[in-house]
Symmetry: C2
Subunit: 249 residues, 2 copies
């Protein structure tokens, strides 16, 4: 948080959060903000660009900027780490390893983790709870180079992400998420405590380091009555995309 433009972005976020600027109202002009914070216009633009990609602010050339939304989105860390997300909400997250085993990488594993076919990768099935309720089933595959560190973590550890950071200095930097819905199978139903065929939100994701090296990929199944996902989008910043399923191709 050293950079001045990040400080300014954070101040603006907070100002929006406490409704100094209410939704629908206009933000001060760039030149005013620049004068107020004692920086150049370029620095203010950098700060504002961040809020724009977060979907908090709308921009049109010639007109003052508009506050679009009040809630601030979570940090990437909170998205990656179930436990840190829970903590930010003041809730307690639990984790429980159901099974853990090495398998040779399938073509799918190989492509997603960018590893040679047949490399021994670590499959882990975890049940995760939020405030005492089972909420999420994680079927994760870890790349071979991080698997030993994952194995050393105790089965009930609430935050694997945090442990990997503390022990290995590993930080997640990029992720791709594919979201759809599936009916709960027999194992899903038993482990999550829901009826078979009840709808689950399925998130398939790949997470990579800052250098672009894939660390893990996972198929997560959420109880749809407990968790949902939200996305901000705009012209010029479209993180979200619709895709046809396998049945359509």
């Amino acid at each position: 948080m050293a950079a001045r433009h990040e400080e300014i972005a954070e101040e603006l976020r907070r100002a929006i959060d406490r409704e100094d600027y209410t939704v629908g109202s206009l933000l001060p002009a760039e030149t005013e903000l620049a004068a107020h914070y004692g920086v150049s216009r370029g620095t203010v633009r950098q700060a504002i660009a961040a809020l724009t990609t977060e979907g908090l602010i709308g921009s049109r050339q010639g007109a003052r900027r508009v506050v679009l939304a009040g809630r601030r989105s979570q940090s990437f860390t909170e998205l990656c780490s179930f436990a840190q997300w829970a903590h930010a909400m003041g809730r307690e997250a639990t984790g429980h390893v159901v099974s853990s085993a090495y398998h040779p990488a399938t073509p799918e594993d190989s492509e997603r983790l960018q590893l040679p076919l047949g490399t021994r990768v670590l499959h882990i099935l975890r049940v995760r709870g939020l405030g005492g309720r089972r909420v999420l089933l994680e079927r994760t595959v870890y790349a071979d180079w991080i698997a030993p560190a994952v194995e050393r973590i105790e089965p009930e550890c609430p935050s694997v992400t945090q442990r990997l950071y503390e022990d290995e200095g590993l930080v997640f930097a990029y992720g791709e998420y594919l979201i759809d819905a599936v009916a709960a199978g027999a194992q899903d139903a038993e482990l999550l405590g829901v009826r078979r065929t009840s709808p689950l939100l399925r998130v398939r994701r790949v997470t990579t380091t800052r250098a672009g090296r894939p660390v893990e990929w996972s198929e997560d199944r959420y109880r749809s009555d407990a968790v949902s996902f939200s996305v901000h989008n705009s012209t010029g910043n479209n993180a979200l995309a619709r895709k046809t399923g396998p049945a359509m191709s």
Copy 2:
């Protein structure tokens, strides 16, 4: 597409798409790109910033940039408009209005569309097909100021978004999407041709103009075997956020 930095961004996207730069490889340095395109470093940075928020490229201070992904994400227009999305894939989209009626705005409508309570808003239920298959159920609520223009559109019009642009010059600029899973109800099952209780992907969304004025909000239910959503995310650009459902609060 007048701006030079957008042209450069587009050229880089295409270069990545045709694998001049393969996934995992390094991009040329800023100074090289600047020299190559005959622009200043700042302009190259703007172009690259776009690719970064799209998740195509990873950045770390001091090290060359890495190509993270090959596929380019869809434009915001394609996300907003079912028909334009289908068209971009070379498929045909259909639309069919099942019901259409005015109702006084509920507190929910009022908040999402930023209209006074009780304003007469237009509720429309549409079934949408892709390549001859029914795939999506749209329950949309239009703000009063755009409702007359929507009513004038014929019931079988495949692209409402495009018609609103042609007739009214209306463009969608910002959207917020809330994604979860639900079981198909009796009406859903009949209109989509699936079994009751089969899982559907539910997307609740609000769309606004460039000026931040809400135009419509909608609850869309997709056949989960036909459509899914994908999101790119990274530190510094987190459009995606996880939320607890109503059952958890």
